[in-house]
């Protein structure tokens, strides 16, 4: 059972899930809990006791949230231990968008969940503990601070902030790195991370259930193009945090579906750290201009195809 406390100075909730201290940490491939049923009788039991599967979702064995105070799920992209979201077959990536949609709807229908966050931590640089390609889904029993800030931006800008920012980026174009008929990807004007990218729905879609079938396909294509470009940028697996921002599920307040990437690399070998100014003052200090990052990413995405 987790415990939620409120940090008065920061004005934000903090969740203590001390049972997570003992969660599985970077196991060898033959002990991966996300692989299908192992053939060797002495191998440990998998979380997915089937000889093969396409996409699997299960309740996290070490949850940050549990019913009736939220949810924590693991979303496994493939039964193959190797690979990444970027190189999933296109039809699998598209199917994943439907899984996201299903989990958003089902978890969002629960009375104890106010916000559904779908995310992926990729790479040990961002703290991943299992290498098997997977993401996670948290159902928060409260509206977390970052989505709340996005809703506050709507009020501050007098309309959907994402729509307004998208219009600015399409007019300026210097930070756009990818686009198709359904989505636009760009490095934000005031990106916090050197190669931060936001992938936005062109049309105002508060959440995945509001998207058409074609838009889901185009979203998958856009996300795979961006992640393949990331891997091509420095010719190495590119670590990132990927988060899906949507409307809160407890009321019909407007959000705008978009996916944000926070990659920690500032060069092929150097990390951007959350240090004094970032933690102590809440002000990110950038080493790279977003326009320069966008130029490099555009070329990398074109190279990756």
């Amino acid at each position: 059972m987790s415990e939620e406390r409120f940090n008065e100075l920061r004005g934000e909730p903090v969740v203590y899930a001390i049972h997570r201290q003992n969660r599985t940490f970077l196991p060898a491939e033959e002990r991966c809990p996300l692989c299908p049923t192992p053939l060797a009788a002495q191998a440990p039991e998998t979380e997915i006791p089937f000889p093969a599967f396409e996409i699997a979702v299960f309740d996290n064995l070490y949850p940050a949230f549990t019913s009736p105070h939220g949810a924590a799920e693991v979303l496994v992209y493939t039964d193959s231990h190797h690979g990444s979201f970027a190189i999933l077959p296109p039809e699998r990536a598209e199917a994943l968008m439907w899984v996201w949609r299903h989990r958003y709807q089902e978890l969002g229908a629960r009375e104890d969940i106010r916000y559904v966050l779908i995310f992926e931590n990729r790479g040990v640089e961002v703290g991943v503990t299992l290498h098997h390609p997977h993401g996670q889904i948290y159902g928060y029993p409260f509206l977390p601070p970052v989505p709340a800030l996005e809703l506050a931006a709507d009020e501050r800008l007098g309309g959907c902030a994402v729509c307004i920012l998208l219009g600015r980026e399409l007019k300026n174009r210097s930070r756009v790195v990818y686009e198709n008929d359904g989505v636009v990807a760009y490095v934000p004007y005031a990106a916090r991370w050197p190669y931060e990218v936001h992938v936005l729905m062109r049309k105002h879609r508060p959440s995945l259930p509001d998207c058409t079938t074609v838009e889901l396909r185009l979203l998958a294509q856009g996300l795979q193009s961006v992640t393949r470009g990331y891997d091509a940028l420095f010719a190495r697996p590119f670590p990132y945090v990927m988060v899906v921002h949507q409307a809160p599920t407890d009321e019909r307040r407007q959000g705008h579906l978009h996916v944000e990437f926070y990659p920690p690399l500032r060069t092929a070998q150097k990390l951007k750290y959350i240090a004094g100014s970032e933690q102590g003052a809440g002000t990110f200090i950038g080493d790279t201009l977003p326009e320069d990052s966008a130029l490099a990413l555009r070329e990398a995405i074109a190279r990756a195809g």
């Binding site: 039991e45 979380e47 997915i48 979702v57 299960f58 439907w98 089902e106 259930p209 599920t249 407890d250």
Partner: protein
């Protein structure tokens, strides 16, 4: 809370219940299984002995191998 009601209704409309059944997991544990269709996906839901839920998603395909996304 109107949005919640809307979403619940939408979920009912999108899911096509195929009925439940019980099966034995590969590892021998008893699991309750429920199958539904959701867009192009078939969903099999298993309740494991420890109370946690495992959901398996499979992309449905036409006989010719074409996906069924446009049907939804």
């Amino acid at each position: 809370m109107q949005g919640m009601a809307d979403k619940r209704e939408g979920e009912k409309n999108e899911e096509d219940k195929r009925g439940g059944e019980e099966r034995k997991g590969e590892a021998g544990q008893s699991m309750d299984e429920e199958r539904v269709a959701f867009g192009p996906l078939e969903i099999k839901r298993h309740l494991e002995d420890d109370g946690r839920t495992l959901i398996l998603y499979t992309l449905r395909v036409r006989a010719g191998g074409e996906d069924m996304s446009e049907d939804t």
